[in-house]
Each structure stands twice: as C-alpha cells, then as structure tokens.
C-alpha cells in the first residue's frame, strides 16, 4: 500500500549496533571460509608437487640402475670390439651411460633443480647410501671410477682379464644391481608414504571445512536469518501500526507529489470527499477544491509555508465542505512530497453553532411572543362575552353593537395571528428551489401587485442583477419591504426607490421610501415578531412582515439594516448571496 510506504517506520534505537554485529559475524564467516579454501589449495598444491618430485626421484633412481647395466654392457663390447671404430663407439656409449649414472646419483644425493631432484635423502635412505658394511654411495663411486679407468685404458690393455673390466662385470649384475634395486624400491615406498600422508591431510582439511561450515550455519547464519526475520516482523508491525493510525485518524491525510497529484489518501479523506480512495489517488488535488479556492496562492501545496489554510471541497453530489488544511513538506527517498492534513473547518462548525444559538434564541422569543400575543385577543373575547352577558341580564335589550364589532375584530385578529405564526414558521422550508431570477422583473411584478392604482411613484434603478436564487424567498423579502413602504406611508402617495449594488460576495438591495420614518430607538424592535409601532387597534397590522424578512435574509447568510429617522423616510438595506449557498439540485 502506497500510503504505508510513505510513513516512517517505528524508531529502532538498536538498529545501528545490530547491523554492526551482523557485519562482524558474516565477515568472520567469510574469513573462515577463505582460510579453509587456502588450506585446501595449499594441501592440494603440495600433493601435486610431492607427486612430481616422487616421480622424478623414482625415474632417476631407475635411470641410475639402468645406466649402470648399460655401462657394463658397453664395457664388454669395448673389450670385444674388432676394430678401432667399434672400440671408439663402445667407449663413447659407455662414457655417456656412466655420465648419466653419475649425474643421477649426485642429483639424488645432493639435489638438482634442473632434474627436479630435491636431494637430501631421508634417514632410512641415507643409511642405505652411507652406512652398513657396503654403503651404496661407495659402491657407486667405485663402479664409476672403474668404468672411467677402463675407458681411459690404452687399447693394449683392453683384454678380457683387465682388472677393471673384471670388477665391473663382477659388481654390475651382482651387489650393485641388488643395492640399486633396493634403493628404487625404498624410494618408491617412501614417496607412496608421503602421498598417503598428504592425502590424509587433505581429508582432514575437507573434514575441517565441513565442520566450520556446519558451525557457521548454526552459530552465524541461523541467528542472522532469525534476526532478519525479526526485523521483517518488526517492520510489518510498524507498517500495520502506521496504517491503522492512518485508517483511524479523524483528520484526513493526503500526500501530494510535486506535480500536485495525490499520492495517498486515508479513509477520513474518503469520507470528506465522499469518494473511494481509488478515485482520489493519482488525481490532482486541485480537482477536489471548489472553483476559486486557493486562488490567491495558485498552488497552496507547492508552498508549505502556506501553513493552515481554509479551503472548500466540492463533492460529486454538489454539496460542499469547508476544510482547514495544514500543509507540510516531507522528503522520502529523494522524492519531495507535501503532506496535507484535512479537518472539517472549525470556523464552519462555529458558524453552525452560532447559527443554532441564534435560531434557538429566536425560537424562544417566538414561542414567548406568540403565546403572549395569542392570549391578548382571547382575553378580549372573554371580556366582551362577559359584558354582553351582563348587559343582557341587566335587561339592556340588544347587545351593544360596538362590543359585537370588537368581538368579531378580535376573532379575526386571532385567526390572522394563527395564520401569521404558520406563515412565519414555514417561511423557510428546508429545501430551496433554485431559479434564474431577473430581479428587475421581480420588483416590477411586486409593484404591480402592491401599487395597482399607481399612487406611488416606484423607481426601479438600473443594474438590478440577474441571479440564481430561491425566487419565492427573495419575492417575500422584497414584497414585504415594498408593501410596508406603501402601507405605513403617512400620505396616500409617495416615492419608493428600489436599487442594488455589488457588495463583493453578495448583492446589497435597498428599498427607500419618503414615508414618516422610524426613530432610531425602535430600529431593533421593528424586526421582532408581532411588535408594532402603532396600536393594533389603530392599524390592523400583525407585526409579522419585518420579522419574516429578517428571518429570510439571515437564513441566506445575509444581514438587514435600517437607515431612518423620524420624518426623514426609511431605507431598508439587505444583502443577498450572488450564488446559491448550495449547488442547484
């Protein structure tokens, strides 16, 4: 879920040391593996080198044996050669053989790099070479000396009983061959032992490797895996924690990217926008604001310094909601985001509370005034009925017609009071009925109705607006004001001017007359229901009209004011919204 990704995980104070510990562990593990590999490599290398050396040793000890016999063979041929050429060839071959034998012997004893011979024979071999009644070294050296002596002997001495030849032929197939065979066997045995020893080492290295790997798996890798699992569980918990905070937040929380598009939205936002998150995420934030909002700052979310702003959201069903929106910026993975916390505007709530308080007060006053004003005619009726009865009992003949007139008048007044109460109570139905209204035409219509004979000169100023509003309500307000101007005029003719001016968010309408005017001390009283400035007996007036007008104007969020003084005419001004408070339905 995108929204969770955007939230910081729970603080983990031990994370740094835990990471260091893990690093140390796997470095140790890797070090051990490297060490063991090196050991295996060295052991293998040694085995190969030992095998090479053993092969060279066995080879040269064999060669020494073989060349000794070859020298003996050519010694025989040398003596038996028929001519000088054959003698020379035999002598050459004999010397070559004996050279090879000597080089092999010296190499085996003292070492020879070219021949890959290490020399330095083991104590057992050294014993064969140098100890015993007939040390091999001495035997070989004597033999070589005999062969060289034979080779150097003049042709005359090359006879069958040459002492050197005799010695050669006696030693070569006898003592020398046996000794050389023994030494070959000894070398072979020794090198086999050495290789066996190296193979054993290799086996041990292999076992050690297995043991170390097992140890690492148990002591290093298993805890590491467990640790990673724990961290993952912690992360999952942190994520669930953050998500549930988001999900249960009363405030709407929205993140916005640098293009102004919504990246995430929590359930509170869904409720505020009356849309599922899927239809919010990915769309421009601006799209959810009522037109004109955020006007002075083109992109309020682009400037987190904007702090808390009051914005209005328009929902798909046309209703609006005023929100206090706190913007703050956030950087996550090098992405710059703006977090917007949305809360239903307290300003709007306070306005609702004030509205309710005012209505409550009005209701109290209304109930009190209504009961009082209904009681007055009832009492009069009771009085009059009693008097008529008393007079009749006293034998006064027909009832006093004045009393009867009064009685009927009070009954009529009671009836119109009850009608008035009904009219006042139902003046502001819960629903509005929106119409495109030409207010100029509306005023003309009202004038035709209230001023049919044209006794009053009614001027309708230019510039009365065209607006979408509840026609009936505006009609009631204007009709009452114009009607009052005519009804309460002290002359039978007069002048009335109806005008309007642009007052920003609203129109301000004015109805001005040149009637008797109203002293400032009564300006509050005239708007109270059933309050009249003239005794009801003098002018049959309920005192309902202006109360109704005020209620209607306040209901539209407007104000009504009176500008008047005694003898100076009266001007009623009221403001009326330019656009409907709610969208047209």
């Amino acid at each position: 879920m995108v929204s969770a990704r955007l939230l910081p995980t729970l603080p983990a104070p031990h994370a740094a040391s835990a990471t260091a510990g893990m690093t140390k562990r796997y470095l140790t593990a890797l070090g051990l593996v490297a060490l063991l590999s090196t050991a295996a490599f060295i052991s293998l290398y040694q085995t190969i080198a030992t095998q090479d050396t053993a092969a060279a040793i066995v080879n040269y000890s064999g060669k020494r044996r073989y060349t000794s016999q070859r020298a003996a063979l050519y010694a025989t041929q040398l003596v038996a050669a028929p001519d000088a050429a054959a003698r020379a060839a035999a002598r050459r071959e004999m010397l070559a053989s004996i050279d090879t034998m000597e080089a092999a012997h010296l190499g085996l004893l003292r070492g020879n790099e070219r021949l890959h011979l290490p020399g330095n024979p083991s104590p057992a071999l050294a014993a064969i070479y140098f100890a015993g009644p007939q040390p091999l070294d001495g035997l070989v050296r004597q033999y070589i000396a005999r062969v060289r002596a034979l080779a150097a002997a003049p042709d005359a001495l090359l006879v069958a009983d040459n002492p050197d030849l005799a010695s050669i032929l006696a030693v070569a197939p006898g003592a020398l061959l046996v000794a050389l065979d023994n030494v070959v066997a000894a070398y072979q045995q020794e090198s086999e032992q050495e290789i066996a020893r190296l193979q054993e080492t290799e086996t041990w290295v292999f076992i050690a490797t297995l043991v170390v790997l097992g140890f690492e798996a148990l002591v290093i890798f298993r805890p590491m895996v467990r640790r990673v699992q724990e961290e993952r569980a912690k992360l999952a918990h942190a994520e669930a924690y953050n998500r549930s905070i988001l999900a249960n937040s009363y405030d709407g929380i929205v993140t916005i990217d640098r293009h102004g598009d919504i990246v995430s939205a929590n359930p509170a936002v869904e409720k505020m926008f009356a849309l599922p998150a899927a239809e919010i995420v990915g769309r421009p934030f601006r799209q959810f604001l009522a037109p004109g909002d955020g006007g002075e700052v083109q992109e309020p979310w682009a400037d987190p310094a904007a702090g808390v702003r009051t914005l209005t959201t328009r929902r798909r069903d046309g209703t609006t909601l005023t929100l206090d929106v706190a913007f703050s910026s956030m950087t996550l993975d090098a992405d710059h985001l703006v977090v917007a916390a949305l809360r239903e505007s307290t300003e709007q709530l306070l306005r609702c509370v004030r509205d309710l308080e005012r209505r409550n007060q009005e209701l109290d006053q209304f109930a009190f005034v209504a009961s009082h004003d209904l009681k007055a005619p009832l009492r009069a009726i009771a009085n009059l009925a009693t008097w008529i009865e008393e007079d009749a009992r006293r034998g006064g003949g027909n009832p006093d017609p004045a009393h009867l007139d009064l009685l009927r008048g009070r009954v009529r007044r009671l009836e119109s009071l009850i009608d008035g109460i009904h009219q006042y109570a139902t003046a502001t139905r819960p629903q509005h009925h929106w119409h495109e209204v030409d207010t100029g035409a509306l005023v003309r219509e009202i004038c035709d109705e209230h001023n049919p004979e044209g006794r009053f000169a009614i001027t309708i100023a230019a510039g009365l607006p065209q607006l979408v509003t509840d026609r009936t309500r505006l009609w009631q307000v204007l009709a009452n004001l114009i009607g009052n101007a005519i009804k309460h005029h002290h002359r039978s003719a007069g002048e009335i001017v109806v005008s309007a001016r642009d007052a920003g968010e609203r129109w301000e309408f004015a109805v001005a007359d040149d009637g008797p005017g109203i002293a400032p001390e009564y300006h509050d009283k005239i708007f109270v229901i059933f309050q009249t400035l003239v005794p009801k007996d003098v002018k049959e007036s309920l005192g309902l009209g202006l109360a109704l007008v005020k209620k209607l104007v306040r209901e539209e969020g407007g104000e009504i004011a009176l500008d008047s003084a005694e003898g100076r005419g009266a001007t009623f001004r009221f403001t009326w919204p330019k656009v409907p408070r709610e969208a047209p339905t």
């Binding site: 009492r379 009069a380 008097w387 400035l533 003239v534 005794p535």
Partner: protein, 145 residues
Amino acid sequence: MKPHPTGERPPLDLLLVEDDEVDVLAMRRALVQCALPHRLHVASDGQTALAVLRRRPVAAGSRWLVLLDLNLPRMGGLQLLAALRADGALAAVPVVVMTTSSDSNDVRAAFRHQVAGFFSKPLDPLQAAATMSTITAYWMLSELP
C-alpha cells in the same frame, strides 16, 4: 362589590398605559362596577404616558398610580419604566405592572425598576375587576409621594 373605605384621602389618578382598546374598556367597567371614584387617564404607548405625566406632575397635586402594560407599540413598558426612573420629577411615581406576560425575565427587569407590583391580566373579567379593586384599595391606604 362594596366600595372600599377611602378615609379622608382624595381619589387616585390612575394612568392606564395600554394599547388594547378592550382592556381599556375592561378597566372602565371595573371602576364603575366597583364604584371606585378614581380618575382614569389612558395612554396607548409609553411616550404618550410620559407626556401625560409631565403635563400634570406630582407637584401639581395629582396622586398618580401608573398601571402599566409591558407589551406596547413603540416605547415598551420596560423602556417607559427606565425613562420614568431617570426623570427626577417622576422617579418616585408608583407603577404597578399589569400585563399578559409573566416571563420571569420581565418580572425581574420590572422589579429592578422598583415597580410596586406585577400582575398577570386574568382571563376572567370578574377576577380582573377584583384584582383592580384590591390594588386601588391598597393604594388608598398608602401615602403617596
């Protein structure tokens, strides 16, 4: 109804501040029925009442007792009381409130202006006459400023 003893005192000057024609008639009938000798003056609103009182102030020998309805056109009963108490010559005039209203706020406000009594207008005319007679009898016994 028997006339109340009036002693040696001259009759009262009752100023009825009342805009309802029938209530004025009722007062007149009550005075006649109870054979009360008091003079009845009527003002239909607060301003008229002030004018009447100022024309014949206490010093001129009038024994004023104001019977005041609170619910009046233009200047209301409470406003009239405030004006009376602020007027040096009229501040001491006794005022009895007789009104349809028995709202506790109105009662408190009236007594704050030192009214001498507060009565709801009874619906029954006989009872109204009896109340009237009791009030005037009481004031006949009392000294007046």
